[in-house]
Amino acid sequence: MLGWELPPHNSGGLGVACYHLSKALALEGASIDFVVPYSAPHDNINYMKIHSATKLSPLDRYGMGAYESAFAIDSSPGSQAPDVKDIRGVQRHYKKYVERLCDEKTFDAIHAHDWLTMEAGVRAKELTGVPLIVHVHATEFDRAGGNQGNPLVHEIEYQGLIAADRIIAVSNITKNIIIDKYGIPADKIEVMHNAIDTESFNDGYEYDNRTYRYLEGLKDEGYTIISAVTRFTIQKGLEYLVRSVAKASQRYDRIALLLAGDGEQRNELIELASELGISDRVFFTGFVRGKQWRDAYNVSDIFVMSSVSEPFGLTALEAAHHNNALIITKQSGVAEVLDSIFTYNFWDVNRLADQIVGIATSDALRQSLTSNVLNEYAKLSWNDVAAKCMTMYKSTNNIQGKVLA
């Protein structure tokens, strides 16, 4: 399996999805070699073999932006690959490593995740003749917030999708983008929605009301906390969310917005909140992980996924698991697997404001949304996704086997 990150060295949902999918595949009997572009211990993973394609630290890899197609790297001092100047350099090293691996071992399927590893996947197929499965978690079209994005990345994706024997899309939205924007025939693509592994949340964590004490204080005064836990990029549509919260607070002022995360749009959002006069009800946490991340979901009442283009959107399921009512854009894949949610078009600031005020002013509405959605996401299982993958491997190869995934 060709991936770009695994927890705890992940900067977002791609690593989480790869982790759970691989784990479920291993349970199905797959033997997996997983290649990452950095060197770091993965003590939590014993169900597959992890290969480090370079000696770069995961921090260097964060600088490479698993989610942005900006090419600059902030390389930390002592970096082990002095010739690696940008993400393309890392990808070259990654591809070379995969070439060597193909010499040493044999595989029954190559499973490559996103544009980052597609070139290596195509190369592995050339060298071995083994079927290539390309798993699309996000396209350049999504990352660019619905715009064309970087033409080089688009081209790499196109070549990968053409070369692939089968394509997995994480939602119908993504499948349609692959058809419409890349001209790939529909019958080559299978939709497999991501799941959520709620087991991983049973790690002894208990919410103690301490981390966001001021927000808890607001809740005691009857406030409703709205949150987004995300990267602050144009893809995520946060500008619309902030505008909508300003609108909503004109009608009902007991609401506050928690923006957990960081990214290139941060300063813009700070400025926008102050222009709208709502700075004192918008909370910027910076990048959160661990307890602060869990606590962000817990302090929140309404989780908004405001993405302009979101292939899936695992955070919505995480938020639902922490008893949030969900409001999700129609442009987010996760909305396809949930019913007890509000949806809106990402640009529709008024509709979102209505939905926020509606939930904030009705306990009955909030409670029915949060309790009903629990049954919906509980049906999603990584084991089902893994079973579908195994079927796909077999159908492309007719052998049950080892996966270079």
Partner: protein
């Protein structure tokens, strides 16, 4: 006819910078100003010690020497309360050296707000409390009374002058800005419009900024500036006028212009050169007012400051973040004062220091003149976030401890 005089006035100030105060500190940790990281630019003690070493100690030593060498040498200082508090804590010798200067009788202390705030534009009563607090600390440390007023950042308008007149000040300082002065010269004393007894001293910004901003600029056509050349400029600026008001930050000497630029030697040379002419002298601000009667009325209906090409308040209150932050802070006034909680009141006042708003300024992004601004923060947005988290913590303290105010402001 009286002598031609230079009124040298230096402004001494250090703010208490807000530490990296996050959402996770709000409602939990009420320490805003003590950054634990000794290397951080938000560590006030570190900054104070650095500036003391580069500026306060060497400049006070030079001033003492000049006062001893030349009996006509005089100057005026405004020293903020937030500076004095930090000096008392971290550099008592600096306080003592200022005390020695004042004890000569030829160094006058100018009145201002204790907290270097823009309170005049938000709350007249709070403003007056801070003027009184400043008078009190000056009395305690220097045993003198102040009689001439300068507002923070030299922010001045007619209503400030009218206030100062009624409050009993005999003089007030402002920027001598060309668009206001028109054909008039800053080298005379004026009477602010609508006042009875108070005199207005105007900064000669060309000659002041030659030292404060341009002295070490090698791209400047006049670089290097010599005492000869500067004396010549001063002479030609005066013509028949009686005085030149050189107003600038004290930290010009040693901090804004480092010692290796030659600023100290230049200054010593210039003072000697100026006084060597028997027609010349130095004035304190009170001398300048006593010796020179106002030549006419001057009106500044809109606020004029000594900052930037605009000479207005936009560096502090120009963008929405600055307006919001200050608006929220001053909105707490009644609730904060009602608590009689001295720690809370003190924190609230330290947050009024204008530097906090200045750090949120974004206008230099459009000028491309980033380096003209001093900020200890990574960006104005960081400054704003930390500050808003502190505002919310103030609300929390009011609400939880004093059962007053509300968390939503």
């Amino acid at each position: 006819m009286s002598k031609r005089g230079i009124t040298l006035y230096l402004h001494v100030h250090q703010p208490l910078r807000v530490r990296d105060y996050s959402v996770f500190d709000t409602a939990i940790d009420h320490n805003y100003f003590n950054e634990p990281d000794p290397l951080s630019d938000r560590n006030n003690q570190k900054v104070f010690n650095k500036v003391a070493e580069k500026s306060y100690r060497p400049m006070n030593a030079l001033l003492e020497k000049l006062l001893a060498d030349h009996e006509d040498f005089k100057l005026s200082l405004s020293i903020t309360g937030t500076f004095l508090e930090q000096a008392e804590k971290w550099a008592p010798d600096v306080i003592e050296s200022f005390q020695r200067l004042v004890a000569t009788g030829r160094v006058e202390i100018v009145a201002e707000t204790y907290y270097h705030s823009l309170a005049f534009f938000y709350s007249r009563t709070e403003f007056e409390r801070q003027v009184e607090a400043h008078k009190t600390i000056i009395r305690r440390l220097f045993n003198v009374e102040t009689s001439v007023f300068r507002n923070t950042e030299l922010a001045y308008n007619d209503s400030l002058a009218q206030w100062a007149d009624e409050y009993g000040f005999k003089g007030i300082l402002a920027e001598g800005w060309d668009p206001i002065l028109d054909w008039r010269s800053p080298n005379f004393v004026y009477r602010p419009q609508g006042t009875k007894n108070i005199s207005l001293l105007l900064k000669n910004y060309k000659l002041s900024d030659d030292l404060a901003f341009r002295f070490s600029n090698k791209a400047w056509t006049e670089w290097p500036l010599t005492a000869d050349k500067y004396t010549e400029w001063a002479n030609s600026s005066l013509e028949d006028a009686p005085l030149i008001n050189l107003f600038m930050d004290y930290e010009t000497f040693g901090e804004h212009q480092w010692q290796d630029t030659g600023i100290f030697d230049f200054f010593e040379d210039f003072v000697g050169r100026w006084i060597s002419n028997p027609d010349n002298t130095f004035y304190t601000v009170s001398d300048a007012i006593e010796v020179n009667q106002p030549v006419g009325e001057l009106s500044m209906p809109s606020t004029v400051t000594w900052a930037d090409a605009e000479r207005d308040l936009t560096a502090w209150l120009g963008n929405s973040m600055q307006k919001e932050a200050m608006g929220h802070l001053y909105a707490l006034e009644a609730d904060v004062l009602r608590t009689e909680d001295t720690q809370l009141i003190d924190d609230w006042r330290k947050l009024q220091t204008s530097d906090h708003a200045y750090y949120m300024c974004t206008k230099w992004f459009s000028d491309g003149d980033v380096h003209a601004y001093f900020s200890p923060y990574e960006s104005p947005y960081d400054a704003f976030l930390y500050y808003m988290n502190v505002i919310r913590d103030m609300r929390w303290r009011l609400h939880e401890t004093h059962r007053t105010g509300s968390l939503n402001g």
